[in-house]
């Protein structure tokens, strides 16, 4: 029925548009500059347009509307929206808008965390928005995580490494879960997408490819982030770590505009010869200490280990649309990025087609289709033979051998190992909008995200048949995984608006959501190839395979009621009820309530504080959940091969029929304020969060016969924090402006209850322990020691107890708390200077503190490989290091403060003057040249070395682990530079 109606409207639409009233005008800023791409709309109708390259717009309204009085609104990001009431008088109406710059956007429309598009002013929780188009223009991020880093208070991107093709972790308001993921979930154009940060082949340190980074920033228009349970209730189970919504670029009314973009740049590794260590050895024949700086030596020999890898991005897009009809956005792109190892690269082929069609005044549909092929060869391949490990644990002792001083394989040999991550990914969403009456609207979002991955690690057969470097693997070995992942979303909501009185309005929303996720994984392994050219599993002498299927489904319904008083005081209450296939059979469903309020105080008649132009107070309480592992509730055995070719089963999961979701409860309060004619905007939020029914992986007594853990709802984790964002339009003149932005966030957490377990080991020297933050470092803290002539510590004294200044012999000392692996404080400061009408300069500094790291590169060198200068000094070695050596606390000899301040982004943007552009002909509307850099400088580093051994980069992290602060053999984040040309037609 709907389709037939839509078809009729579609076919009839040309007839309806024959006679029209034309509304036109110009949108400028206070200085008279055209605001290109401003949205101008006729409120409460489907009519609207975007301004063209001259700031002009034209809207056609059917003649049937003649004589009506309508309200028009012009909006542009960074400017206060402006409304005007006009009467539709044929044949034309002219209405110009002059917008004032503002840092406060109370009327900005957001779509995340609400059933339908809602003005920010009505929402009781913090919603962060990021103008991705501007960010891409000024900083050239190559992936989504780079786009987000340092931009939103409380959103911490932990990059981890410079291994091109891999990604980092995202933490929103710190960490809150003992055992489950702390990653936010991600939606794209209203549907759930796979944002797994631990995809790809199982390289050293585990899987580290981020599915979020399959997307190209070039296709993103805006990103919205809601940060915790107070805001994410309507997303239900899985949403307690926050929700990121990616909104891709859409068509705009007007003739087609074309954009061509070419970027060239590079990845490089500054000063590797000092950031990577010199290795030492005491020659057993001469008794002399010998040293070898492998990086320097290889460079001197003309075979540098690290090179500058080229980055290339080519993109083309077209967007346009017809008034009241089809709007479209189409893009094509190719990205090719090479890392600092010449065999580490990523090639990304991408296309996107977004279309929106307003079928009638009441019906609208949009469809968004994106395809990407992301093909990477990773730089840090198999465990034991990665390049960093070969360098940091090498030794002059092995200079006479074929390893040439490296640990066990030369860079050339390591470079033969292929670690590939490939994906073909389709993301499609369909949105149906329907406004059957003036007071009722409904929408349906549905779509799929399908990814077909192929990951493998290949040791080609050594051409000479030698097994020198890789042992049996030198004869050829391939581990192959093919994975098909699909996420299916069906999300329906209906909203009804009523004006109960002139002042009191209500909006009632109901909705339902169904989400299905499944992963079908086929693995194969082949060992021993007959020839170097044979690289398929089928060509191996020995093969085995495996298959897995993982499926999860969620179904939820919600209802929400919003009351608004005079359009300045808002009260919202709602509830979502969820059931999930991962819940235990004894647990039926979960209920997540929410309550929030917002008050636009400065619009009250009594408001007379001139210093504060705008003020909105907000408060929100909400609950959302976190889903347990899909198999955790059921007692399960896994089929496996048995003796004589028989089929057998082995116990794998003890199950828990009472299992329910982890429950995040949060209260946040805050305000948004505009000062100095709204040129200074402050957003402040304080939140208190509790994770109840926290899921704990309780170790199953192995003597029960079942291995591993039982997943139980035992714990409670409390957290709190604050976020501050200050945006300042410091100077705004015709040829010069200066904008500043400062963000700050601090988060804390404490484990309140572990259900009687007391502590849970998270990793080496890390524990979840009641009364302490999540995943704290616990170890004996050496305070003082003496060392004898052989380098043996003789009087090692350690901290006697937590909070005590006393000491006891280390042999009697308890393990005490020594910090956490994640940053507790983050801040960013950016400046945008417009030096003339054509030149802008942008710089962003990124600060993190509170995080500590256990560097296996360093600790392993001191105490295990014993190739550091300090450990070889014997009698002269640092006494604390000697004490750690004696206690074999090797990881702790690499423990350090990993706080830093980096110059994260810097760019110069030059818009070629109009007269030159016009002279180019070919219909060119605008040309922009950009020079930019990323990670150019570390301005401050809390600790650069430990016992004489350098730390390559404080941002290194093994992202395959949720909480571990242990880091080894990770390529440090690279420095990048770009030159870009952007041409509009």
């Amino acid at each position: 029925m709907i389709i037939r109606s839509a078809l009729l409207v579609f076919l009839a639409s040309p007839l309806l548009l024959i006679a029209q009233i034309t509304i036109s005008g110009k949108v400028t800023d206070n200085a008279g500059n055209a605001l290109v791409g401003s949205n101008v709309s006729v409120l409460n109708t489907a009519y609207g347009a975007a301004t063209d390259g001259n700031g002009d717009y034209t809207i056609e309204v059917p003649m049937i509307e003649s004589g009506k009085e309508v309200t028009m609104r012009a909006e542009y990001i960074g400017y206060a929206s402006q409304s005007a009431t006009i009467t539709l008088t044929p044949p034309t109406v002219t209405q110009n808008f002059e917008l004032s710059a503002t840092a406060l956007w109370l009327n900005e429309i957001v779509v995340t965390g609400t059933p339908g598009a809602t003005r920010r002013r009505a929402i009781g929780n913090s919603v962060a928005t990021l103008d991705a188009e501007t960010q891409v223009e000024q900083a050239n991020p190559t992936d989504i995580q780079s786009l987000l880093a340092g931009k939103i208070p409380g959103v911490d991107v932990q990059f981890g490494s410079g291994n091109v093709g891999t990604g980092g972790l995202i933490r929103v308001r710190g960490v809150a879960s003992l055992s489950l993921s702390n990653e936010p979930i991600v939606y794209i154009d209203g549907i759930r997408m796979n944002s797994d940060p631990r995809a790809g082949p199982n390289i050293r340190g585990g899987r580290q490819v981020s599915r979020l980074n399959d997307l190209s920033p070039e296709d993103i228009a805006r990103v919205e982030v809601i940060k915790g349970p107070a805001a994410s209730t309507l997303y239900g189970t899985e949403a307690s770590n926050g929700v990121i919504q990616i909104i891709t670029k859409k068509g705009k009314t007007g003739p087609p505009t074309f954009n061509l973009e070419i970027k060239q740049g590079g990845n490089w590794f500054p000063n590797p010869e000092t950031r990577l260590p010199t290795n030492y050895w005491i020659n057993s024949e001469t008794g002399q200490m010998e040293s070898d700086n492998l990086v320097q030596r290889m460079a001197d020999e003309g075979t540098p280990i690290f090179t500058t890898g080229q980055i290339q991005n080519y993109g083309a897009s077209m967007r346009g649309g017809y008034e009241g009809g089809l709007k479209y956005y189409f893009s094509l792109g190719y990205d090719n990025e090479v890392g600092v190892l010449d065999y580490n690269w990523r090639k990304r082929y991408r296309t996107r087609l977004n279309m929106d069609y307003q079928l009638s005044e009441k019906f609208g549909v949009s469809t968004n289709f994106g395809f990407v092929r992301n093909d990477s060869r990773l730089g840090m391949a198999a465990s034991g033979w990665d390049i960093i490990g070969q360098i940091v644990w090498g030794s002059p002792r092995r200079l006479p051998t074929a390893t040439n001083g490296f640990l066990r394989a030369t860079p050339e040999a390591v470079g033969t190992i292929e670690s590939k991550a490939e994906i073909d990914r389709f993301i499609w969403s369909f949105n149906l909008r329907h406004n059957p009456t003036s007071w009722l609207s409904q929408r349906l979002n549905t779509g799929v995200d399908i990814g077909i991955e192929e990951n493998y690690i290949l040791f080609p057969r050594d051409p000479t048949g030698s097994d020198f470097f890789f042992g049996g693997l030198s004869l050829g070995d391939k581990s192959l995984e093919r994975r098909r992942s699909s996420f299916i979303t069906v999300d329906y909501a209906a909203m009804a608006n009523f004006n109960i009185t002139e002042d009191l309005a209500t909006e009632t929303s109901v909705g339902t959501q169904f989400l299905e996720k499944n992963h079908h994984v086929v693995t194969a392994q082949g060992r021993v190839f007959p020839l170097p050219s044979v690289k398929t599993v089928g060509g191996a002498a020995t093969t085995f395979g495996g298959e897995d299927f993982i499926e999860n489904k969620t179904f939820g319904v919600f209802v929400q009621e919003r009351l608004s008083w005079k359009d300045r005081l808002y009260l919202t209450m709602g509830v979502r009820i969820d059931d999930n296939s991962a819940f235990g059979e004894n647990f039926d469903f979960v209920t997540y309530p929410k309550l929030s309020a917002a008050w636009v105080v400065h619009e009250e008649p009594f408001w007379n504080m001139e210093a504060i132009n705008s003020l909105r107070l907000r408060a929100a309480y909400g609950v959302s959940g976190q889903q347990p592992d899909v198999f955790a509730a059921v007692r399960l055995f896994t089929p496996t091969a048995g003796p004589g070719g028989s089929s057998t089963v082995t116990p794998t999961n003890i199950g828990n029929p009472d299992l329910k979701p982890e429950r995040g409860e949060e209260i946040e309060i805050g305000f948004d304020a505009g000062l100095v004619n709204n040129r200074v905007n402050m957003e402040f939020t304080y939140y208190v969060r509790q994770t109840k029914d926290a899921i704990v992986n309780r170790t199953v007594s192995p003597s029960s016969g079942f291995p591993g853990v039982q997943v139980v709802n035992l714990g409670q984790v409390d957290g709190s924090g604050l976020e501050l964002a200050v945006n300042v339009i410091a100077i705004e003149k015709q040829d010069f402006s200066w904008d500043m932005s400062f963000t700050y966030s601090h988060s804390e957490n404490e484990i309140v209850d572990l259900g009687g377990l007391g502590s849970i080991r998270v990793g080496a020297n890390q524990e979840h322990k009641e009364g302490y933050p999540l995943a704290g470092y616990f170890f004996r803290k050496v305070v003082s020691a003496s060392v004898d002539e052989n380098g043996i510590a003789t009087e090692s004294l350690c901290k006697a107890a937590e909070g005590s200044s006393g000491t006891v012999p280390c042999s009697e000392a308890p393990a005490v708390f020594n910090g956490v692996p994640y940053p507790t404080t983050t801040a960013a400061f950016s400046n945008t200077l417009r030096l003339s009408k054509n030149i802008r300069v942008f710089a962003l500094m990124d600060f993190k503190n509170g995080n500590h790291m256990m560097s296996g590169n360093v600790g392993g060198a001191h105490i295990l490989l014993r190739n550091s200068e300090e450990i070889l000094k014997k009698g002269d070695r640092d006494p604390i290091l000697a004490a750690l050596d004696g206690m074999r606390m090797w990881r702790i000899s690499g423990f350090l403060d990993a706080g830093f301040l980096k110059l994260r982004e810097v760019s110069v943007i030059y818009s070629v003057p109009d007269k030159i552009v016009t002279g180019l002909g070919l219909g060119v509307d605008g040309v922009q040249l950009t020079l930019s850099g990323r990670n150019l400088l570390t301005l401050w580093q809390a600790q650069k070395e430990i016992y004489g051994r350098p730390l390559m980069d404080p941002e290194m992290r093994m992202t395959s682990s949720e909480m571990s602060g242990y880091v080894q053999t990770v390529l440090p984040p690279t420095s990048q530079f770009f030159a870009a040309v952007n041409i509009n037609f």
Binding site: M1, L407, G471, T638, T650, S703, L865
Partner: protein, 415 residues
Amino acid sequence: MNKTSCASTFLLGFTLTIFLTGCDNLLDVERPTRVEADALNDPKLAETLVNSAIADFECAYTNYIAATALLTDELMVSTEFLNVNNWDLRTIYPDNSNLGTAGCTTFGFGIWPTLQTARWQAEEAYAIIESFTTTEVPEQTNLLATAAAYEGYALTLIGEGFCEATVNVGPLMQPSDILKMAEERFTKAIDLAGTAGNNDILNMAYVGRARVRLDLGNTSGAAADAGKIPEGFVKNATYSTASERRENRIYDYNHRRIMVSVDPRFRELEVQGTPDPRVPVTDAGRLGHDGVTDLWFQELYPEAGSPIPLATWDEAQLIIAEAEGGQAAVAAINLLREKEGLPLFESSDSQEITNQIIEERRRELWLQSHRLNDMLRFGLPFDTGVNHKDQIRGTTTCLPLPDAERKSNPNIGGS
């Protein structure tokens, strides 16, 4: 109602209908790669249950041998990877997560959980099969005998290797308690295998019972059981390349990963100038994974599918030698030497004979799960001081009950 209202109502009604009436079905999921526990309670799966117990035992067995070979003097480490290195350094303490939680194919050695899983699988298989009738399971006696024998061997390794232990989340037990349980299981297996006429399981159980009786000091009982074993009897734990779980772990760590090498005390052994074929090794002529240690290959298990002896006539002869001593021991030793074409042993000195029994066991049963038990039983010294890489050795002898058990078992103070 007009068309638009009709459509709205339909959409809303459709979704509510799904929720109210079909929610349970909507959330049904498939688990085709897992088996729910209830599905195993089926007489048709009796043989599968026993094979499952054998598979878990064989995986645990090769893990146990590889790990304890490093802890003792059979193999030496040639990697810096801690999961392996700690065993050679004798730094296996209760908090060692591999010891307490690692799986059968996990890198490192999950000795405690894999042996416990093997034990429980056999026990559970026995209990389930016993609950069926012989009509439902015609091979019931045979299958019960097999399950009991493998449970006996899992208990044997737990009792021999660990300083203290427990089963089924029970109270703390001493090794002798565990070994007595093993003896009881072997006795059950002997009875059932005799009834079923399964000589393979019968002899395996006799060797197993002789072994634990020797451990428990019941030398006459041990000798009596060992004497029943026919010459040439070999019961192997089988391995293959069908899956990673089925592979011989000693081959894997030595030949493939080059992370372990043959300890110098087992290289190029001779008997009075004659190369000893019972300890086959080759010099790889290069360094191992750590770039420091000379790499030697053991050739007892030259392939990933090489079987490992579990119960043999050879072992039975050495049990007789130890149990009876004197010239009976000399005769038993020489029976084995004759088989290998080695010079014969002669002595009338009891201490010398005892020492030779230890030496013969060291060679004859190399990489067959006996060395740790022998070093503990005979009080042989473990390596101390620093290793060849200047790393300080620890103090592990018998394996400690891991924290993973102690902290999770309410009957021994855990929660």
